[in-house]
């Protein structure tokens, strides 16, 4: 616990030597038709660190995180994981390397129950059959760890509220020992207590050495959990700041493009 807090506050005070990046992106380009969503982005992601990714709507934050999670294949550019060049051709390859993502659109299956969604893609089995009992029991612990309350875990996800759905997507990404956890606006639909729980979660997984990327429009959250902030503008990264060396006003100016670039 002490170590966790010590580590969580690191990066704000006297900057220690930054650890080697676990993931290194170089010159990432991605176009959709004629539209250049990403125009050459460099980014380092370090273990035990939370990187805030901010920028205007359509700046390319989601596209960049999806490149990292293997959902999109970049047109140009290199990705290095632990110093080795990798190329994900499907999200499952990234997932196999412990890269997990909370998608902005959540990516839940409405017609599958809460338990099924938490274990989607890695169902527990007993012989040829789904082990529903064990999945239900583990789902309860997963949700309890995040202080998420959902009355009936066998209810179909379509019957849940927006915030409950978001909580499930977060629990799914965070519960299977990720090494890199990408969260694309994970708190946009959450109430006060639930946001606190997610911020607490980020600090906890950071303390375990997980690299977190947090895309958010809630500036106040950045200062609570992030160690660095990268600002995107029209498909490029325009600035990167250690959290201790910046303030709200500067970040806002950088987002809207008054940062003197």
């Amino acid at each position: 616990m002490m170590a966790a807090e010590a580590q969580a506050t690191r990066g704000r005070g006297d900057a220690p030597l930054p650890p080697e990046p676990i993931l290194r992106l170089r010159n990432i380009h991605k176009s959709f038709g004629s539209h250049e969503a990403l125009r050459g982005v460099d980014l380092d992601i370090r273990p035990g660190e939370c990187l805030g990714l901010i920028g205007d709507n359509a700046a390319g934050k989601s596209t960049l995180s999806k490149v990292i999670s293997g959902t999109y294949i970049p047109d140009v550019g290199e990705i290095e994981l632990n110093g080795r060049a990798v190329r994900f051709s499907t999200p499952s390859e990234a997932r196999d390397l412990n890269i997990e993502m909370v998608y902005q659109d959540l990516s839940l299956c409405d017609h599958v129950d809460v338990v099924g969604n938490l274990f989607l893609g890695r169902e527990l089995k007993r012989g040829p059959f789904l082990d529903q009992k064990r999945m239900l029991a583990q789902a309860e612990t997963m949700l309890a760890a995040l202080e998420i309350r959902i009355p009936r875990l066998t209810a179909k996800v379509e019957k849940l509220s927006g915030g409950q759905r978001q909580a499930i997507a977060i629990a799914r990404a965070a519960s299977f020992e990720p090494k890199i956890l990408l969260m694309d606006e994970p708190t946009s639909a959450l109430a006060v207590a639930e946001v606190e729980a997610v911020l607490g979660l980020i600090n906890r997984v950071k303390a375990r050495g997980v690299a977190v990327v947090l895309v958010t429009h809630r500036m106040q959250d950045l200062f609570r959990v992030c160690d660095r902030v990268a600002v995107m503008y029209e498909g490029t990264k325009v600035a990167e700041r250690a959290i201790g060396e910046t303030d709200l006003q500067e970040l806002v100016d950088l987002i809207v493009g008054k940062g003197g670039h």
Binding site: S69, S92, R95, S107, C109
Partner: protein
């Protein structure tokens, strides 16, 4: 000071009923059909006739189970009737050519799977709508059946074991009906209790989400057409075994009966929502109506009109009467 109270948990029974409203309503409709034909005909409720109904329903049920998987992925397979006819004719031709019947059975199952696989490849890997691919299949496969038989019916001789599949009885119960029940139970287990069933639902519910969590989404999508191909092959052989011949004119309008049965059972054409129990009830309802109308001496052509009407009404009920959660939609006060 306002006092904080916890919301009461809804009653388990109410949850259960609202989740199964669709199946319960088709069960009710089925019961009404049975009561109606029992009252209006003297022969409907005899053991002989009921066994006849289940024997007739067997091929429909077998393909309807597979069609439930297809429709759960938000797809459709219009080619099943033509594939049944092709397999039906091909099996007769091969047996007439002297191949032993067990070999023919295996060959036909493989052929059905392959044909389904080709259609699945076009749908899943080439992104052509299932409706188009299987509509083409409907035409092509029936055409091949006509070409092979030149329109004649081909008799099957000296294959007692094969005939047993279509006409035999075990403890007084027709073999094809037993097979169909086995297939339905298998479908039920696969859908609810296996990873493959979960993948089928996930792909139908949210294909991109299934891909993102690492499911082989395209392979799963293609595979349901293999399943419906194999099921059609079984149905085609059961029909050949019952009639003792193969004909390119077998199973006319079969695809409509199958789709009607599945949709009537509450499986959503939009994908993601499946009900195997509903499919069984829907199939039996279609079979009972077909049988009852004949017993009432109503023109057999009328059955087609009824089947079509059932499809329309069932889909209308699915989309209008039941809301997203299969509850009866209440008008919200505006």
């Amino acid at each position: 000071m306002a006092s904080y109270t916890e919301r009461q948990a809804g009653s388990r029974l109410a949850d259960y009923l609202s989740e199964r409203a669709q199946v319960l309503s088709i069960a009710l409709f089925f019961a009404i059909c049975i009561l109606f034909f029992s009252a209006t005909t003297t022969t409907f409720l005899t053991t002989g006739n009921l066994l006849n109904v289940v024997r007739q329903a067997a091929p429909i049920l077998i393909v309807a189970v597979a069609m439930t998987l297809v429709i759960t992925t938000a797809g459709i397979d219009l080619s099943v009737g033509s594939l049944v006819a092709l397999i039906n004719a091909l099996a007769a031709i091969l047996m007439a050519a002297g191949l032993p019947w067990p070999v023919v059975v295996v060959l036909m199952l493989v052929a059905g799977g392959l044909i389904g696989g080709v259609q699945g490849w076009f749908i899943s890997y080439q992104g052509i709508p299932a409706f188009i691919v299987t509509l083409a299949g409907l035409s092509i496969l029936r055409g091949f059946a006509l070409l092979l038989t030149e329109g004649y019916s081909i008799p099957i001789r000296d294959a007692a074991g094969f005939f047993w599949l279509g006409r035999g009885e075990v403890l007084g119960f027709p073999v094809p009906a037993l097979l169909a029940i086995l297939v339905a139970i298998l479908g039920f287990i696969v859908m609810l209790h296996t990873q493959y069933g979960r993948q089928v639902v996930a792909v139908g519910s949210n294909m991109e989400a299934a891909r993102r969590v690492g499911m082989p989404a395209k392979r799963v999508l293609a595979s349901v057409y293999v399943v419906s191909g194999v099921a059609s092959a079984i149905a085609g052989m059961l029909i050949a075994a019952r009639l003792g011949s193969g004909s390119s004119n077998a199973a006319q309008g079969f695809e409509l009966q199958v789709i009607a049965a599945v949709v009537l059972g509450g499986t959503s054409l939009m994908g993601g929502r499946a009900s195997m129990t509903g499919t069984v009830l829907g199939t039996m309802t279609i079979a009972v109506i077909g049988n009852g109308l004949i017993l009432m001496h109503i023109s057999p052509f009328f059955t087609q009109i009824v089947t079509g009407t059932i499809i329309l009404v069932a889909i209308w009920m699915n989309t209008r009467l039941f809301d997203r959660n299969w509850r009866f939609a209440r008008r919200k006060p505006s």
